[in-house]
Amino acid sequence: MSPRTQAPPTSSPREVRTAAPEEADTPGPASGSGTAWRGPRRRRVGLPLLLVLPTIAVLVGALGYPVAWQVATSFQEFGLKQQFGLPPEFVGLANYTAIFTDPTLWTILGRSLLFCLVCAFATVLIGGLLALLMKRVGTVVRLVLQVSMLLAWAMPLVAAMTVWVWLVDWRRGALNWLLTRVGVDASGHNWLAEPATFFAIAAIIVVWMSVPFVALSLYAGLTQIPEEVLEAAAMDDAAGIQRVRLIILPLVAPVLSIVLLLQIIWDLRVFTQIKLLQDAGGVANETHLLGTYIYQLGVGSGDFGAASAVSIVMLLITVAVSWYYVRSLMKEEAA
């Protein structure tokens, strides 16, 4: 587990690979000093690719087939019969025209994007504030904060959802009970029946689950800022918000943008939370997001062709949404 025990393989294969051409290129006395300071440029041809190769291999191994299958299936008539062995029939763009002429897809698309953006920005905002808070409090309070966040996050999804569903349950939920005690007559109100409150609750749960990751990443990013910079800012009496906006924000920008991007990607494909909330009393047809819609089309009604088409559309949307970030990442790389 320890990184130190993992490190040796990084060096050994490279040593073997690069030593040979090095010796061949510079024979004689130069090879001795060459071991201490071997030309970095020369070895950068094979080594980086060697280092990223395992990652690429795993990703291709696990995702290559599914993605290829989805692309192929989206152009095929693929129903329950095909699942039991009948060869699928190529239908061209029929699945795509079918889903795009169905207004349901557009509604769900808009809903998913809105839900995803609201959740992602709320998560990053709360996570960022929390990270700043952690930077300001003492060690003990920070530990309490970190541990409680990790507890929220470490709770298994199924157990966490059971608790949340239960907390908002209309008959015996703690939420209605509390509201009634405070004086709001909420007894017997089913929050999951209305799409608006359904998504509000879903958003609270999704944000609750993802804030710890964001807060801890941003906190780790903050710790990379040299203490002197912050001290200097404090001595110049920069107001809190100014300090954050002008000094801290630009410094954590790389971490921040990655975290926001990952959050958008994850929130766009949210599935389990929505599915379990629907099972607990939501009206499924009015509360579908892309993830549950794909599930309903495929596993639910056996139309895998349409489900694949929606999956591909969803993939393209994710690529489009994150395009800006990828571009800026690449520009940063090029600089």
């Binding site: 060096s11 795993v58 299958w69 989805q70 300001r136 470490a154 015996r172």
Partner: protein, 297 residues
């Protein structure tokens, strides 16, 4: 601690300092109130889970916020193989899958992140885009084709059928967080070490790794938790023998038939969360140690 910058600042003239001090005191009080609210928000569901785990089945829907009708029966139910709850075995499965996923994901992730953050090579953008793209495909869309693929090659219900997809979910995350960290590292130290006679591998191992330790441990926790909590893939691709806890909990049977075994589920949830808590507490110390080590730079 929150007032550290001010207290270490050189002493200025009296009056504005006093005003600043009261202002700071108020700010720090507010800070602690905020901290308290957040702790509460994070912990309520967790507290509710533990509370119910120790509550008698008959009082499942007792709304008291304090422990009532305390019992350990739910834990017995959770482990009861007579009821078909093979919870012990699924705990082992989850550990096994989680550790394999974390170890391999982290190992590969460190390699790739080092290359992406530190080295220049021609296909870098393509690799970056590819890894990012891999995290974009919806999990729901992966299950069906994987199911078919694994059925065809006879992998259904095996560990590798669960571990490989899990690694592919974890890898983009580890690569991205580690790349972000590696980019901020003081690489001059590595150069210095190389001038002092280290190879690039040694410089990385002896100089950069210790500095990157907090990032690596944080990433390890992230990876382990995400593997530990994976549900969708496991629910479709595991067998009874390899089912992890998430699947086991979802298919729980209670002591009384025809009743949702809420309390047993909560007991199981509590047990599942405990290893993570312990791990977090252990890692926490390492993270803090890593942070102070990083501070020396």
């Amino acid at each position: 601690m929150s007032t550290a910058p001010a207290t270490t600042a050189p002493a200025a003239d009296g009056a504005p300092r006093a005003a600043a001090r009261t202002r700071q005191r108020w700010t720090s009080t507010r800070t602690y109130i905020n901290a308290g609210i957040i702790v509460l928000w994070c912990l309520v569901p967790f507290y509710w889970m533990v509370l119910t785990a120790f509550r008698d089945v008959g009082y499942t829907f007792d709304q008291s916020f304090w422990p009532t009708h305390v019992t350990l029966d739910n834990f017995v139910t959770a482990f009861s193989t007579d009821l078909g709850n093979h919870f012990g075995r699924s705990l082992f499965n989850s550990f096994f899958i989680g550790i394999c996923t974390t170890a391999i994901g982290l190992l590969f992730g460190v390699f790739a992140a080092y290359a992406l953050a530190r080295l220049n090579f021609r296909f870098k953008f393509i690799v970056l885009g590819f890894i990012l793209g891999a995290s974009m495909f919806p999990g729901v869309a992966i299950v069906t084709p994987l199911f078919q693929l694994f059925t065809n090659i006879g992998w259904m219900g095996t560990y590798q059928a669960l571990i490989i997809p899990d690694i592919s979910f974890v890898l983009p995350l580890t690569v991205y967080t580690l790349t972000a960290f590696f980019r901020e590292m003081p690489w001059e130290l590595e150069e210095a070490a190389r001038i002092d006679g280290c190879t690039q591998g040694q410089a990385f191992r002896k100089v950069i790794m210790p500095l990157a330790a907090p990032a690596v441990f944080t990433t390890a926790i992230l990876a382990f938790i995400s593997a530990w909590n994976e549900f969708l893939i496991a629910s479709q691709l595991s067998s009874d023998a390899t089912a992890p806890v998430t699947v086991a909990i979802a298919s729980f049977a209670g002591a009384q038939p025809h009743q949702e075994p809420y309390t047993a589920v909560m007991a199981a949830g509590t047990i599942v969360t405990v290893p993570l808590v312990i791990m977090v507490l252990i890692f926490q110390r390492k993270i803090v140690a890593g942070l102070t080590a990083g501070g020396v730079k």
